[in-house]
């Protein structure tokens, strides 16, 4: 029976090698939590820019309001793009920090074939979505921007899930579902955005941290 035990050990080792060589497994759950917090702060900034409170825009297309709002010396387009870039930048910096820390602790490299593949898989749908949203702003359709970001982000996650922890795929599906509902219920677009990018990230991140990193 010693042979059997040895074969089983080999199989387990082979499985681990297949996983480790084709997927980037150092993605930290904490980076999700951090991204969620950044997103909530971003949503708060948009609410205060528009001078509204959450769930006050149920009577339809409250982003009509955006077109006529000027605050802090900015029109809505510059404000939205600025807030979006700030959220993206802070989320990325924190995410890279947490993920580097996890990779170092696991003794893996942060920049290798698997992380390059993951970034490339994420980048294409994200860049497409970014351009799509700029076009929406260009044509004065700000109400469609929050749901569109959810949809494209969800697609990016599903694309990227093949190269990292599988759990990311389900987060992607949830983001797409939220985005598509937001497309039809424009009055709740911003609330759905805050839920998808904020609350879901925090919940998923905490769960993944607990599952893979917590002892």
């Amino acid at each position: 029976m010693n042979d059997t035990k040895q074969h089983l050990e080999h199989l387990a080792e082979m499985r681990a090698l297949m996983e480790r060589s084709s997927r980037f497994l150092s993605l930290s759950g904490l980076s999700g939590v951090w991204a969620g917090l950044c997103a909530l702060a971003g949503a708060a900034a948009v609410y205060s820019f528009l001078g509204i409170t959450p769930f006050s825009g149920r009577d339809g297309y409250y982003f009509q309001k955006a077109i006529h709002t000027t605050q802090w010396g900015m029109d809505y387009k510059s404000a939205f793009v600025l807030i979006a870039l700030l959220v993206l930048a802070t989320a990325l910096v924190g995410g890279i920090f947490c993920t580097t820390r996890k990779a170092r602790r696991q003794g893996h490299r942060i920049w290798d074939a698997t992380s390059r593949r993951l970034l490339w898989a994420l980048a294409i749908p994200l860049a497409t979505g970014g351009c799509f949203c700029l076009a929406l702003l260009y044509w004065d359709l700000p109400g469609l921007v929050p749901p569109a970001t959810l949809v494209f982000y969800g697609l990016a996650l599903i694309n990227g899930s093949k190269f990292t922890l599988r759990d990311v795929e389900f987060l992607g599906l949830s983001e797409i579902a939220l985005g598509l509902s937001g497309m039809f219920y424009l009055g709740t677009g911003l609330e759905l955005w805050a839920f998808g990018f904020g609350v879901l990230h925090i919940l998923y991140g905490a769960w993944m941290y607990w599952k893979y990193e917590g002892q």
Partner: protein
């Protein structure tokens, strides 16, 4: 049980060779240094296993220059993929028989 053991491919008769094949079947091309890191092997050790697999035509080698640095990448051949799959099937059969032996 003896029959199955004789069917196991001798080219894979080492855990490091199985490791190399495992990595190569799920990736298109893998750099020498990546293999070395993933398997945690010394140069001499890794090179001898790679050579053995190469001479069985289970893997192919691709050498190129990236800037001024030579870079060697490895990929699995169709023959290697088939042999690896056959090896896994045999392992599966051995384990199934072993389990049935335990149960009865």
């Amino acid at each position: 049980m003896k029959d199955f053991i004789t069917q196991l491919n001798p080219a894979f008769d080492h855990r490091n060779r199985l490791g190399i094949m495992s990595i190569l079947v799920v990736n298109d091309w893998v750099e020498y240094n990546t293999l070395k890191e993933l398997l945690n092997l010394t140069d001499g050790n890794l090179a001898s296993h790679l050579k053995a697999l190469e001479s069985s035509e289970y893997i192919r080698v691709h050498k190129q220059f990236v800037g001024r640095k030579p870079q060697t990448t490895y990929g699995v051949t169709d023959k290697g993929k088939e042999a690896f799959k056959a090896h896994l099937d045999t392992l599966e059969a051995i384990l199934t028989i072993a389990r049935e032996g335990e149960d009865s």
